[in-house]
Amino acid sequence: MLDACHRQEADAQRRLYREWYGFARSKALPYGRDSAAVEEIVQDAFVKLFNALRREVFRGVFAAWFRRIVVNAGIDHYRRERTGPVELLDAELAPGNVPNEAPLRLERDDCIRLLQRLPPACRMVFTLYVFEEYTHPEIGERLGISAGTSRAYLFRARELLRPLVGTYLHLTHFLPHE
């Protein structure tokens, strides 16, 4: 399929898009502040993917490579949007009436959508630090901020997330004790 994408065969590109759309969307979810932004990041990621495949045939672990492309597309999206007005939107969550049953009621995407309540910079730092295991200097380099600022954003993200998560689920029921 990748070879066919290298030859820019539309059928192969469509199959790849359909098969890997879910993967791309799941990885792009923390980077967009709403569904439209997530769709835009996914589109950007696929454009980068097909352009890269057109240049060279890819051999290797495709999932890891594509994940990196999605992350880069998310960072690019953040760079474009951060200069605009910051609008904090409430995620469209449907929490259960009983918090302890929350893990059974919340879908995966709904958990990630909690992140979308964070300010963009805090969300980006939290995402890159926790999900992508970037170090603070690396985050600073990618986002154009200092490592200290990155640490501050991470601290702020934790402070904002802790009560937010507690509203919907108890982590002690979800994860074993440390």
């Binding site: 399929m1 990748l2 539309a10 590109q13 469509r14 790849l16 898009y17 359909r18 098969e19 890997w20 759309y21 879910g22 993967f23 969307r25 799941s26 990885k27 923390p30 769709e39 589109q43 696929f46 454009v47 097909f50 352009n51 240049r55 060279e56 045939v57 890819f58 051999r59 290797g60 672990v61 495709f62 999932a63 890891a64 995966r108 958990c111 990630i112 992140l115 926790v130 999900f131 934790r158 997330l161 802790r162 998560v165 982590l171 979800f174 994860l175 440390e178």
Partner: protein, 452 residues
């Protein structure tokens, strides 16, 4: 990582299986429109073609340049054959001179019985052979003491192989230009005479996408280095070969057994029988300037390419500018009739040189597969050798008689230093191997091996 982060991490890493989520209805169409909008023009196909065109153009210029050099050298070589009868005779390799003879009769030649078979001529009044002087040679071979196997008193003991003798005074050119002629057969037991001196010249989801088997040969593919990553410094070993024409130049001197009006003649001793007295036929004098297929240059260089794109190289080059030529080649006797002779002078026999190269280049497009190195090379000559051979060819029946053989060697370190602009093209075939072609300096086509 605290519990909160591990929670999110666990949720985030649970990727949905491929194909489990359907994209939006118009997602593919929108993506396709963007792909078409961002489709670059057919630029990738233009670059290689332009590169090839440039390569061919430069190669053509280079070949034309070599052709010019050949013509110039051919002219200068003729200067070695300046003969003036009013100059003192070079008697080093001559036998005892015969007494002068009146014109137009041939000069008296001493017979073997008289102990002077290699003797030559003098003319009446000491001014009988006047040959127009030619320009002086810029690359004179300075003769050092070369013991001639033929002394004036020992010539009578020589074997009975064909022996000829230039026999005439040859000191009209630059005093530094002294061509030593060994009056001996090629089968002579004597060692060749050598004239030294002379001036010269590298997840589970992917399993469904990847082919089930990836052979070792297909494992490598070129991935352009992103701009965020620095280009690593590498060592490079390059070897290039330049196939080209091996040049041969010299000139023909025409002779005939029929006396000419001017009375110019030369006597050549023969292995047996009386000396061969031949009269100059200047109308048949022509120059030799041609080539045959061969390898003109072989070069090896070691280079260090730095992350900045600069490249320093050190190497050595062997250039072969004249091969060995067979005197019995029928081409030499072509057109000769009975009683006609041709004295063939080959000035470029087995002419080769060694050079040491020092270069500095800058690599363009170094993150790509096709790279171009632009820079300058210094070529320092460390050794040069050039042989000269003259032989007499007779028509009907064709007979070849060696006349002289001489060798010029130049062992002076860096006797010539040439700054040469250099352009090198590289196309990466494997992670370490590239095809390369160079113009200027270490020219030719070859391969480059990279070591990190």
């Amino acid at each position: 990582m605290n519990r909160l982060e591990r929670f999110f991490r666990t949720v985030y890493d649970q990727s949905p299986p491929p194909g489990s989520i359907d994209p939006p209805a118009d997602g593919w169409e929108a993506l396709q429109r963007r792909l078409e909008a961002e489709q670059p023009p057919a630029r990738r196909t233009v670059g290689p073609w332009l590169g090839a065109l440039l390569l061919l153009s430069l190669l053509g210029l280079l070949l034309a340049h070599y052709g010019t050099q050949t013509a110039q050298t051919a002219r200068t070589v003729q200067a070695d054959q300046v003969v003036r009868s009013d100059q003192p005779e070079d008697r080093e390799n001559m036998g005892r001179l015969a007494p002068a003879a009146p014109r137009p009769a041939p000069a008296p030649v001493l017979s073997a019985a008289e102990g002077a078979t290699l003797s030559v001529t003098s003319t009446a009044g000491g001014a009988s052979r006047v040959v127009p002087a030619r320009p002086a040679a810029p690359r004179p071979a300075v003769a050092t003491a070369v013991p001639s196997p033929i002394g004036s008193r020992s010539v009578g003991k020589w074997p009975s192989a064909p022996v000829a003798d230039p026999s005439l005074p040859e000191s009209g050119a630059d005093p530094a230009l002294i061509q030593v002629r060994r009056v001996a057969p090629l089968t002579s037991p004597f060692p060749p005479s050598v004239i030294s001196g002379g001036e010269g010249y590298g997840l589970p989801h992917a399993v469904e996408v990847l082919p089930p088997v990836v052979t070792k040969k297909e494992a490598w593919h070129f991935v352009p280095l992103p701009r965020e990553q620095p280009v690593p410094a590498v060592w490079e070993i390059s070897a290039r070969v330049l196939p080209s024409g091996i040049r041969r130049y010299g000139h023909y001197e025409g002779f005939s057994t029929t006396p000419n009006g001017a009375g110019d003649y030369r006597a050549f001793t023969q292995a047996s029988g009386p000396p061969l007295v031949l009269y100059s036929d200047r109308e048949t004098n022509t120059s030799i300037n041609d080539s045959r297929p061969g390898i003109l240059m072989v070069g090896v260089e070691v280079a260090r390419r730095f992350p900045s794109g600069f490249r320093l190289s050190l190497g050595t080059v062997y250039s072969n500018e004249g091969g060995r030529f067979d005197p019995s080649d029928p081409a030499y006797a072509r057109g000769l009739g009975s009683g006609e002779y041709r004295l063939v002078h080959i000035q470029s026999e087995n002419w080769y040189a060694h050079w040491i190269t020092l270069g500095a280049q800058y690599t363009i497009n170094r993150r790509r597969r096709f790279r171009i190195n632009l820079g300058l090379q210094l070529l320092g000559q460390v050794y040069e050798r050039a042989g000269r051979r003259s032989f007499l060819v007779g028509g009907e029946p064709v007979a070849v008689q060696p006349v002289t053989t001489s060798v010029m060697e130049n062992r002076n370190f860096f006797s010539r230093i040439l700054p040469v602009p250099q352009v090198t093209f590289e196309y990466q075939l494997r992670s370490r191997c590239s095809l390369s072609a160079g113009i200027g300096g270490v020219s030719g086509v070859g391969a480059t091996y990279r070591i990190r």
